[in-house]
């Protein structure tokens, strides 16, 4: 009996994809519902504040809100000659209201960023508003301060009538706008931020290199140790993470100060004849930061090392490679994902260091974060703080992206 085999080719159902989606929808909704609280929490406490803060870097409300009449009077001004009388009248009226609302000081402070001396000019006019005689105001302004006859001063007021300003962001990278509004380098004595930026990158790089140098052999030893010893060693690596950052930093202050433990030890051992300056130095800062960052570099490297089978080195040896060659050609390349992840983590975290440079470092070791804090705490210049924060964020993201491009996302293993 001949046997027939019938092959039924299933018809392609166009609604199959739709059916699949419908069938999986409850699962997806459930997953979303489970993750939703965390997402909302992050949005409210992390995303939103950062977004609001970053807009502070370009917001420019002072001139627009305090000098509304002046801004509209300067609307048609071409900037070639001193503005007409009505601009002075509008300014006087605006300042009179500012005096009543006590907002003149804020205006003076904002305009002073653009040009030194503006605060005193604004305050002086505000003080003398009552003693101005009738008649044209322009000559009386000029009599008070000849700068009022300067077109540059009026150009500054006109430019800042706009709701957003590039001023803070430009300043953060040592650029400025001149009277005509074109962008150029600021004077050498004011150009500090690129220097700070470079210093921040340099310190973060030093710390990353130091943690890698200390961390790689440590991770290697732990990965080879028998389970119980490895557990103990890992505990010692993790121990600093369970201590507050501030406590660890102050501990370093105790160690590093001129009469501190390290100096006394060095003197007692006769290694130095006089006390070394360790506090308030780059060395102290990098040492303390390296100590704090070490676990972050070690852990990803260790987890990758543990995943490399023992057979890899044995295979290399059996094929003829001496121990060192086997290590460099076979073992070390396979640790790269962990090395990349550990270094990236330490580098990015180091970029944002604040407490350690503040307490252990000298004035030449202060990093971007320290300046952000100074602008917020001392100068109340939120715009500048936000601009520097922007800079730090952009820098971190671009390093991260460049890193992904160079190394590849699949080659970074955090654990």
């Amino acid at each position: 009996m001949a046997q027939t085999i019938s092959l039924t080719i299933p018809a392609i159902r166009p609604d199959l994809g739709k059916a699949l989606k419908r069938a999986e929808r409850p699962n997806r909704l459930r997953a979303l519902a489970l993750a939703l609280p965390a997402l909302l929490f992050l949005l409210v406490t992390f995303g939103a504040p950062i977004g609001v803060f970053l807009t502070t870097a370009v917001r420019n409300p002072e001139v627009r809100e305090i000098l509304p009449q002046t801004v509209s009077a300067l609307d048609g001004w071409d900037g070639q000659a001193v503005p007409a009388e009505e601009a002075f009248v509008a300014l006087a009226a605006d300042l009179a209201r500012a005096k009543a609302n006590s907002t003149a000081a804020a205006l003076g402070k904002r305009l002073n960023y653009e040009s030194a001396g503006m605060r005193s000019r604004i305050m002086s006019v505000t003080r003398h508003l009552g003693s101005f005689a009738d008649g044209p105001l322009a000559p009386q302004f000029v009599a008070l301060d000849p700068a009022w006859a300067d077109t540059e001063l009026w150009a500054i007021i006109k430019r800042n009538g706009a709701p957003v300003t590039p001023y803070y962001l430009l300043t953060a990278v040592d650029l400025g706008q001149d009277a005509s509004g074109s962008i150029g380098r600021v004077a050498a004595d004011q150009a500090v931020f690129l220097d700070i930026l470079g210093r921040t990158l340099w310190i973060a790089g030093l710390v990353t290199a130091a943690t890698l140098l200390l961390g790689f052999p440590t991770a290697y030893v732990i990965s080879l140790a028998p389970a119980r010893v490895a557990g103990l060693m890992l505990l010692m690596v993790l121990l600093p993470l369970w201590t507050s950052l501030l406590v660890r930093t102050t501990a370093w202050v105790v160690l590093l100060q001129t009469d501190g433990v390290i100096n006394q030890l060095l003197l007692a051992l006769g290694l130095t004849t006089e006390k070394l300056q360790l506090m308030l130095t780059r060395f102290g800062t990098v040492t303390a930061m390296t100590h704090i960052q070490l676990p972050f570099t070690i852990l990803p490297i260790l987890s990758v090392m543990k995943s490399i089978p023992e057979g890899q080195m044995r295979a290399a040896r059996s094929l003829g490679a001496p121990p060192l060659a086997a290590f460099w050609r076979i073992y070390a390349p396979q640790t790269l994902p962990g090395v990349a992840a550990g270094c990236l983590m330490t580098f990015i975290l180091s970029l944002g260091y604040y407490i350690t440079p503040a307490l252990v470092g000298g004035p030449r070791d202060q990093m971007v974060s320290n300046f952000i804090a100074t602008y917020i705490n001392r100068d109340l210049n939120w715009g500048m703080a936000a601009a520097l924060a922007c800079l730090l964020l952009v820098m971190t993201l671009s390093i991260y992206l460049a890193f992904l491009r160079l190394v590849g996302a699949e080659r970074i293993k955090l654990g």
Binding site: R314, S318, L319, G320, P323
Partner: protein
């Protein structure tokens, strides 16, 4: 002397009498302990002949992998000597032993291409350029992987990875090749295919191979000789047929294939055969070793050698009357669960056609030859 030895004992722990020329590797009184208390390898004497495929077979913890690792140079013997072509190598690091090693999980280098993996050993032997490239291509062609040279190990199937590992271990023409359960990770069909292929390559090139496995059918398929390991000792060293037909102790009889083990006592000898008395007093003619029984004497009988008493078995010396307890249909064969010699339980495997008429509860007469009944004293 009250010991009657009817066969020459071929145990591994006799000192080797082979000449150096045909001996590739010799273990001499090798011992290994990891913790200083228990010996993983107790007293190993073993000679591997040039060009042979020798398998070390045993359950896990039997010492076979430790022995292989000592030969590869990854473990040092606690005492004793290992000779490779007559030279002591136990203190020589692995990279200077000139031994190819195929690891359990292949240990291919994931960050290198197949070609770079296979070319790796050549780099340390001063083979470069066109010569190296040619040898890599030849090695890949031999394992039928030509054209996959630019792939990375992760892009290959398990079987292909296995072939790369083999090519890499052979490309530098090592003195011998060691394999540590190399087929363990493959599925059954591929494993059987690779067994034949590895065996063919070994025979074609005449390479000496030492192979470790816990799979007895793999050992029987591939080996010229098999060393059965148990508790740190070689229990038996023989060719596959001898190992299967004439196991020398109960461990080997039980580890290789299925076996009925029946208690008995020595009744005497007759025409060079050993006569044993079973529990119910019936006697069987058997072959094997009749020595002093330190833990009782037993007869081992394979299920497929115990058949129904038909014409084809007229020459069989033993007849056994048994009651059928159960019958299991296995397709080509029928498995009979029997009770005989009083209340001893035994299993027979007969062709399906012969066993078709047999019903549980009936009484049957079984037959087996004296050569298939093995008397064991250990």
């Amino acid at each position: 002397m009250n010991t009657i030895s009817l066969e020459r004992r071929r145990l591994g722990n006799e000192p080797s009498t082979q000449t150096a020329a045909e001996t590739m590797v010799a273990f001499e009184r090798v011992q290994k302990t990891y913790d200083g208390r228990t010996l993983v390898v107790e007293d190993l004497n073993l000679a591997v002949r040039r060009g042979e495929f020798l398998t070390m077979l045993g359950p896990s913890g039997s010492g076979k992998t430790t022995t292989l690792m000592m030969l590869g140079g990854f473990e040092q013997p606690t005492s004793g000597r290992i000779l490779l072509e007559g030279q002591a190598v136990e203190r020589l690091p692995p990279e200077r032993r000139d031994i190819g090693f195929v690891f359990q999980n292949y240990a291919l280098f994931p960050h290198m291409t197949v070609r770079e993996n296979v070319g790796f050993p050549l780099r340390y032997r001063g083979v470069r350029g066109a010569e190296a490239a040619k040898r890599v291509e030849d090695a890949l062609a031999m394992v039928k992987l030509g054209g996959l040279g630019e792939r990375r190990p992760a892009q290959l199937s398990g079987g292909q990875q296995q072939r790369v590992a083999l090519a890499r271990a052979m490309v530098f023409n090592p003195k011998l090749i060691l394999m540590d359960e190399p087929l363990g990770a493959l599925d059954k069909q591929l494993r059987e295919h690779m067994q034949i292929e590895i065996k063919q390559i070994q025979q074609r090139l005449g390479i000496t191979m030492v192979y470790v496995t816990h799979d007895q059918s793999e050992a029987l398929t591939m080996s010229d000789r098999i060393a059965v390991f148990h508790e740190g000792r070689i229990q038996q060293l023989s060719d596959p047929v001898t190992l299967y037909d004439r196991p020398e102790n109960r461990f080997v009889a039980g580890f290789i294939g299925d076996n009925n083990t029946l208690a008995c006592e020595l009744a005497g000898t007759e025409n060079g055969l050993v006569v044993v008395r079973m529990q119910d007093g019936t006697t069987l003619l058997t072959t094997g070793l009749a020595g002093p029984a330190d833990s009782g004497m037993t007869v081992s009988l394979r299920p497929e050698r115990l058949g129904l008493d038909t014409e084809s078995r007229e020459g069989a010396q033993n007849r056994i009357n048994a009651r059928v307890l159960d019958k299991t249909f296995l397709g080509d064969r029928v498995r009979l669960s029997l009770e005989a010699f009083g209340n001893a339980h035994l299993v027979a495997s007969v062709p399906a056609a012969e066993g078709a008429a047999i019903m549980p509860g009936s009484t049957v007469t079984m037959a087996c030859s004296a050569a298939d009944c093995r008397t064991l004293t250990r």
